[in-house]
């Protein structure tokens, strides 16, 4: 299950919205109140109620569906939604959850390709009034052997204005389980590493080094300098006010135990790209000494713009502090 919180991005939508035109006299929202004030009230109402309130009157419908209004919502940090992908989104509906209203809404399934199934390990990236679904691992009925997962390069986006899916330009290198982050200042999404894995024979999966940048407005992928080493299953985030793209965790090479069982070689370091020069540097052991600390699931939270990086390892939780370069064990 993949879930993604849809935060208010700090930048405007891809096609920066022009100021709303003055309303014609027939489109008064609330009699006796300036429309600007009425819109403010509506923007405070939890998002889940908007669908119903649209049937109040024509002016409410157009106000609640307008692009500028959606952008106001995104900028407010009040109407946060969570989008949950319980399964392959081209087969099972993703769900939206409105935290403020405690309400659920199924989304239409993603457009599907009849030859592929079981899409997972994709990236769900919220950006403006859209969610981008990028890459992933899937099974292709045309490939051999049939039960070997392959990577996908396709990109879809979900549009909150009309609740529809659109095809976008595919990545140059197909991948799943990769690191990604939004670069708000330039309207880009960067992706790094990744590969495809089998749910049972995970360590036998593929890994790549390729790094790409997606221009949301132009709908174009561009190749950047590759990662210092092969890496999949990694997590990405922005640091130093969006100047650095960090890739942590994941696994690089695989080795075999007794020459038979493939096992992962976990990455304990971080790879950092300066977005200005595009050069990668490596930051040593992110999770401290402790030989037996095997990098587990890494989760990146957001603390008003700066990332909170946690690693879950069995019963322990570590938090990484960039400034000191140290990981601190939070719970035992």
């Amino acid at each position: 299950m993949i879930s993604v919180a849809i935060p208010p991005p700090s930048s405007p939508d891809d096609s920066s919205s022009p100021p709303p035109p003055p309303p014609p006299s027939s489109s008064i929202l609330i009699p006796g109140l300036p429309n600007e004030v009425s819109r403010t009230i509506l923007s405070i109402v939890p998002y889940a109620h908007h669908a119903r309130l649209k049937s109040t009157s024509k002016s409410w419908k157009s106000a609640l569906s307008s692009k500028s209004f959606l952008n106001t919502l995104l900028g407010q940090n009040r109407n946060n939604l969570i989008c949950i992908f319980p399964q392959d989104p081209s087969i099972a509906s993703p769900y939206l959850f409105d935290v403020n209203a405690v309400a659920w809404c199924p989304l239409p399934p993603m457009p599907c390709n009849p030859h592929v199934y079981g899409l997972c390990n994709f990236a769900a990236v919220p950006f403006g009034p859209h969610i981008y679904i990028i890459g992933g691992s899937l099974f292709d009925t045309r490939s051999f052997p049939i039960n070997r997962p392959s990577s996908s390069s396709s990109t879809f986006r979900f549009n909150f204005r009309d609740f529809s899916w659109e095809n976008r330009a595919p990545m140059i290198s197909p991948r799943g389980s990769f690191a990604y982050a939004v670069v708000p200042s330039s309207g880009n999404i960067v992706v790094a590493g990744g590969g495809s894995r089998h749910t049972v024979f995970a360590a036998a999966g593929s890994r790549i080094r390729a790094v790409e940048r997606y221009d949301v407005v132009e709908d174009q992928w561009e190749e950047l300098d590759p990662l210092p080493c092969f890496r999949a299953g990694c997590v990405g985030f922005m640091e130093r006010e969006g100047e650095e793209f960090w890739v942590v965790g994941g696994y690089s090479a695989s080795r075999t135990v007794s020459g038979v069982f493939p096992v992962d070689e976990y990455c304990r370091d971080a790879a950092v790209m300066g977005l200005e020069d595009g050069a990668w540097r490596e930051v040593g052991d992110t999770w401290g000494d402790g030989e037996n600390v095997r990098a587990g699931k890494i989760v990146v939270g957001d603390d008003s713009g700066s990332p909170l990086v946690f690693m879950l390892d069995g019963n322990e939780i570590f938090r990484y502090f960039r400034v000191s370069g140290l990981a601190i064990n939070l719970l035992l």
């Binding site: 009699p31 109140l33 009230i41 405070i44 119903r52 309130l53 009157s57 659920w104």
Partner: protein, 176 residues
């Protein structure tokens, strides 16, 4: 808390058209009741303050034809609390408890007319909370909005809504 509030209400001097003293500002409500307030309170009301500034402070009696003597004390109370820095969650909860829907709407209009940012923000939230869980009919009635959809259009729109709520408020008590 409630006692404190009511004692503050009493301390407001309400008098029938008195000659204005230089230290205070007189606000005249739509129904000709004069409310004397400290100049600091007038500062909270941007509309009033700009009126005073335009006349270089010579005029201290300000007619507010759009605001009734019923609403003005609430506005003044909120401004006083705001100046004293005593706007707390408890105060706001207590404040809003006293108001029915009609009064909230009137106060909102008053705050909008007087241009009191904090009160406007607060009342926006109150109104949003009050309409959030309600039916469309209730919202129309509440704001006096005319339904300009044809029945077919409306039925189609309603079909589209697919949100499942864990609890929906029944339409309200204090509204006819």
């Amino acid at each position: 808390m409630a006692e404190e509030v009511s004692s503050q209400m009493n301390s407001l001097s309400i008098s029938e058209t008195n000659p204005s003293s230089s230290a205070t500002i007189s606000l005249v409500s739509g129904d000709d009741i004069v409310f004397k307030v400290e100049p600091t309170i007038a500062k909270e009301m941007e509309t009033v303050q700009s009126f005073i500034d335009e006349t270089d402070g010579k005029i201290t009696t300000i007619p507010l034809p759009n605001i009734s003597s019923h609403d003005l004390p609430y506005v003044i109370e909120y401004c006083e609390k705001s100046i004293a820095g005593k706007i707390t969650k408890e105060f706001e909860a207590e404040f809003v408890k006293k108001l029915n829907n009609e009064e909230v709407k009137e106060l909102f209009l008053a705050a909008n007319y007087l241009n009191i940012k904090k009160l406007l923000d607060f009342l926006s939230q109150v109104i949003a909370d009050r309409i959030a869980n309600k039916s469309v009919e209730y919202v129309r009635r509440y704001f006096g909005i005319e339904n300009d959809f044809t029945p077919e259009e409306e039925a189609k729109l309603r079909e589209e809504l697919a949100w499942t709520f864990t609890g929906v408020d029944p339409d309200d008590e204090d509204e006819n």
